[in-house]
Amino acid sequence: MSDISVYGEGLVKNYGKTEALRGISFLVNKGEIFGFIGPDGAGKTTLFRILTTLLLPDAGHATVEGFHVVKDFRHLRTILGYMPGRFSLYQDLTVEENLKFFAGIFKADISENYYLIKDIYDQIAPFAKRRAGKLSGGMKQKLALSCALIHKPEVLILDEPTTGVDAVSRREFWEMLIRLKNQGITILVATPYMDEAILCDRVALMQHGNIMASGTPDQIIASYPHRLFSIKSDQTLELLSLIRQMTGIHSAEMFGGNIHVSASNALTGIKEIEDFLRSHDFRHFELEEISPGIEDCFIDFMKMNQAS
C-alpha cells in the first residue's frame, strides 16, 4: 500500500449532460512517471482537476499519497505541484518575481530547494528580468515547471506541459522530468502526443472519459494483436482506398506520409499485400513489416471500443 502514490476508483464527472469521466480507475506507484495519453476531450484535464482538489467527482473516490482528494484537500494543496494546461503564471511579472511569488505562497525557501529546479531554471536565468509574458513557449513551460517545483512537491501533476512547444524544447522538457523522477518525485503527465508515451514508465490510454488500456508502453505494444505493415507511396490516397478493399486486412490508416496496414490474420504477409497491389496495377511503393507504436495501439483500441 505504501508504494501507491495516486489511486483512483470509479471516478465519474459530468458537466450537465456531457460525460467527462465515465468511471475510471487507476493506480500510480510512487516515483514513476505515469502518462495519461489521449486526444482533446478525453477527460484528462477533468481527471487532473479532481486529483488536484479543484473539482469534486460526482462518484468514485481518489487519494493522493494516502490523502483523500475531497476530505483532505487542505493538506493535499501543500504537497502537490500543479501545472495547468494553460500557461498560468503572471505575465506582467518577471521570471524572477514569479518564482519568488510561488515560493512565497508555499512558504518555501528558494535557495533550499534550488537543487530541484537548478537544471531547468539555469536555462531561463539569463532572462530573469524579463516579463513572463514575453518568453517563448518552451521557456514559459520551464518557468511554470520551476514554479510548480519550488516547494518540493511530493507529486507533480502536469496537464499537457508540452502542447504548443517546439520539438527541441519538448525533448529537453522530458529529460528534465526523468531527472525529477530520479529525485523521487511521482509525476503524472497528460499529453495528446503518442510519441511521448514511451517516455513514461506506465501509461493509460484515454478516450471519451474512459481508460481503454493501461500498463507499461512495452506491455501495451506487446498486446497489439495484429501483424503491421507500412506502405510508402506517392499516391497515398488512392493506395488507401485500394488497400481497404483487400481481404485479410483489419485496418489501414494514414500515418504521416505512410499507410499503416494491420492484418486480420497471420496469413496476410508482405507477399500477399504486394501481389494484391500489383494485381491492381500499383507499382511504385515501398512495403515493410513494422512493429507497432503506441499510436497504432491507440487506434486499435479506439476501433474496438467503437465496435463494442
Binding site: T52, L54, T78, R86, D92, F101, F102, A103, G104, I105
Partner: protein
Amino acid sequence: MKQFVIKEFLHIFRDVRSMVILFGMPLVQVLLFGYAITNEVKDVRVSVIDQSYDYASQAVVNKLFASGYFLKGEHINSTREIEESFRKGKNKMVVVIEPGFAGKLETGQQPTIQLIADASDPNTANLLVSYASGIINAYSRELVPAGNIPVIVPESRMLYNPSLMSVYMFVPGIITILLMLVSAMMTSISIAREKELGTMEVLLVSPLKPFQIVAGKVMPYVLLSFINAGSILILSYYIFNVPINGSLLLLLGETILFILLALSLGIFISTISNNQQTAMMLSMFALMLPTILLSGFIFPIENMPAVLQWFSLIMPPRWFITIIKSIMLKGSGIEYFWKETLILAGMTLIFILASVKKFKIRLA
C-alpha cells in the same frame, strides 16, 4: 502573504489602465466638477419690466443688479416679449414689477413682483428664482420696521453654503464616487482577472486560504484608495478652498470605513463574476450609476419618487455623503451621524460575510 501584496502592487504599477484609473481619475474628476460642471449663478442675463417706475421699484432693481449674480439682459417693454427673449436665449429670467409698487407699499398692501424664469434648465431656473426672491425679501425687511410686517417674508437662507458654491457640494460626492470606483471596481476586476487568466487555478492548489487571497488582494487597494481620498481633499482644499470644518481624524476614519465597505462590495462582485468583463459591467451598473444617481449627490433624494427613495436607503454612498458633508461643511461630530456610521459598518460586515461564504475553494 507578503509576497502576495508585493505581487499585487506590481500588477497595479505595471498596468497603464489601472494607473490611469487610480491616479489620473481623481485629478480629472475634481477639476472637472470644480470648474466645468458648475451650477453656480454668476452673470446671468436678466431683464426687468418695471411697470411702476417709482423710487421703491427702482431700489429693488438696483439691489438685484448690484448683487453680482445678474447682468442686464436684452431690454424688453412688455410681458408679451418675454417668451421670445427666452427663446432667443437673450434672457434667463424676467422680473415684472406691478404698477403702483411704492404706493401699495406705503398703504400697507402687498405689492407683488413676478419672477419669470426660463425653466428649460430647471436647476438654474430654481437657483435664479431663489436668489432673486432672497434679494427682494432682504429689501422688504429693510423697508419695514420690525413688528409691522406688511409683506410676508419667507426666510430662505442658504445654510452651510451661503454663496451656494457648487464645488462644496461636489467634493463629498466625488470622493464617494472615486472610492467606489477605485476600491470596488479595481478589486473585483483584479480577482476576476485571476480567474480569467487561469492563475486562480494555481492559487487554489496552494496552501493559501481564501481569507489570505482576499486580504492580499485588498490591502494594496486600501492604501491606494486612502491616498486617493487624501489627494482629493488636498486638491479641493487648496484649489477650491473647500473647508474642512470638522475633525480631520474623524473624516479619515469614516473614509477608511467606506473604503472597506467598497472593497468588500468589490470582492462580493468578483465572487459572482468569472471574467473581467462581467466584473466591470457589474461594478458599473451595480455601483457607479446608483452612486451617481441615487445617493443624493446630484439629484436630491427628497425629490425622488418614493420607490427610489426606499431604494436609496440601501445605497452605501448615500450614508457616506451625509457623513462627510456633516464633517466637512457643518463641522459636526460623530454624535450627529453615529447612525449612518453604524449602517455603513453593518453593510461592510454583511458583504464580507457574504463574500467569504461565496468564495469558491474549488473551480466551478
